[in-house]
């Protein structure tokens, strides 16, 4: 069991699949996530792969301050991700609603009301390095020895 677990740990630490969803924001954070893919930050050198398919994702990056239309759909996306999974809130919006959190705006933050959030990366937008280090530091906490800790 433990050898198998070791192999799984090793594989998982080099193969983190990320899916991101914008539930209503200015798109600034999306651009920073995409900047992580560019050669300057090169997220793939750490074994993190971004492709937008919740069914093969391990990490869900949630961006945006949750508009009413997203409330049920966000939950759907979260349910589609296979275990073990983790959600990371990117930017101010999922934490507080940021500048949209004013009278008359149609948002309903924080995101943690709808799905469990493991880590928050504040910033408007956060630097790509901040996003990177958040994913890298939260992933092992969730994925390491997942099967053993579950049983």
């Amino acid at each position: 069991m433990s050898i198998l677990q070791d192999i799984k740990n090793a594989v998982r630490s080099r193969s983190i699949h990320v899916s991101y969803v914008d539930v209503g924001s200015c798109n600034g954070c999306d651009i920073e996530v995409l900047a992580c893919l560019a050669p300057r930050y090169d997220i793939e050198q750490y074994g993190i792969y971004v492709h937008n398919n919740p069914r093969e994702a391990d990490v869900l990056l949630v961006i945006g301050s949750v508009t009413p239309q997203w409330v049920d759909k966000l939950r759907n996306i979260w349910d589609k991700i296979p275990e073990p999974k983790v959600a990371v809130a990117i930017g101010n919006c999922p934490i507080s609603g940021c500048v949209y959190n004013r009278r008359g705006s149609l948002i309903n933050p924080p995101v943690s009301k709808y799905i469990p959030i493991a880590a928050q990366v504040p910033g408007c937008p956060p630097r790509p390095t901040e996003i990177l280090s958040a994913i890298l530091s939260v992933a092992p906490l969730i994925f390491k020895d997942y099967e053993e800790s579950k049983s």
């Binding site: 507080s96 940021c98 500048v99 504040p122 408007c124």
Partner: protein, 201 residues
């Protein structure tokens, strides 16, 4: 055939293999000029609230009373790191990146004041605004309960059946009048203007 051998030789060079499998971009350090969340310098905060007033992000900054001094507190998750509070603070209490250096070098500053406006179509001349204003009370303790006053020093008073604004410049932007107006007739607007003094060459 020769080219195949050439390619195999080329790709088996240890140096190439090492670069191919283990190349990493240089560790990314945050540059010193990065405009991060404002931090406190050792200057003393006077509690003028300029920073709170200019902050565009709801709940980004709060100036709190701690024991016997004012302390501005920045809330990550709300603050958008715009740096306006750093620029607005005349005391230099806050700092972030190289904003202070640049404003000092260029001699720029933000000038702000409060503009009061009463919509006469909505106002019913109740005088709530004049009565609730703490500065008004200070200037004229005899202020009438209907907002009339014999003092010329008040910010505003009811005069001739309407609100007359006399000393806009005394307004501290507390918005007490706005919250006490039953009709939403009075509006307090914070006006900010960039000021630039000529730098000696």
């Amino acid at each position: 055939m020769r080219s195949i051998v050439y390619y195999i030789r080329e790709f088996l060079r240890p140096e190439w293999l090492k670069k191919f499998f283990f190349a990493k971009t240089a560790p990314l350090v945050t540059p010193s000029y990065f405009k991060d969340y404002p931090t406190l310098t050792d200057k003393e905060c006077t509690g003028c609230f300029s920073c709170m007033m200019i902050c565009p992000a709801p709940g980004g900054i709060e100036v709190l009373r701690r024991k016997d001094q004012w302390v501005p507190e920045i809330y990550p998750g709300h603050c958008i790191r715009c740096g306006l509070c750093v620029e607005a603070c005349t005391e230099g209490v806050l700092t972030s990146g190289r904003i202070l250096d640049v404003t000092r070098r260029d001699g720029t500053a933000l000038r702000s004041w409060y503009h009061l406006e009463v919509d006469d179509a909505l106002c019913m001349r109740c005088g709530n605004c004049c009565v609730s204003c703490p500065i008004n009370k200070q200037e004229d303790p005899q202020l009438g309960s209907t907002g009339t006053s014999s003092s010329d020093e008040v910010i505003m008073r009811i005069e001739g059946g309407r609100v007359r604004i006399l000393h806009e410049e005394k307004c501290t932007g507390c918005k007490t009048c706005e919250t006490h107006c039953p009709n939403g007739a009075i509006r307090v607007a914070r006006m900010v203007e960039g000021a630039h003094e000529e730098v000696e060459a």
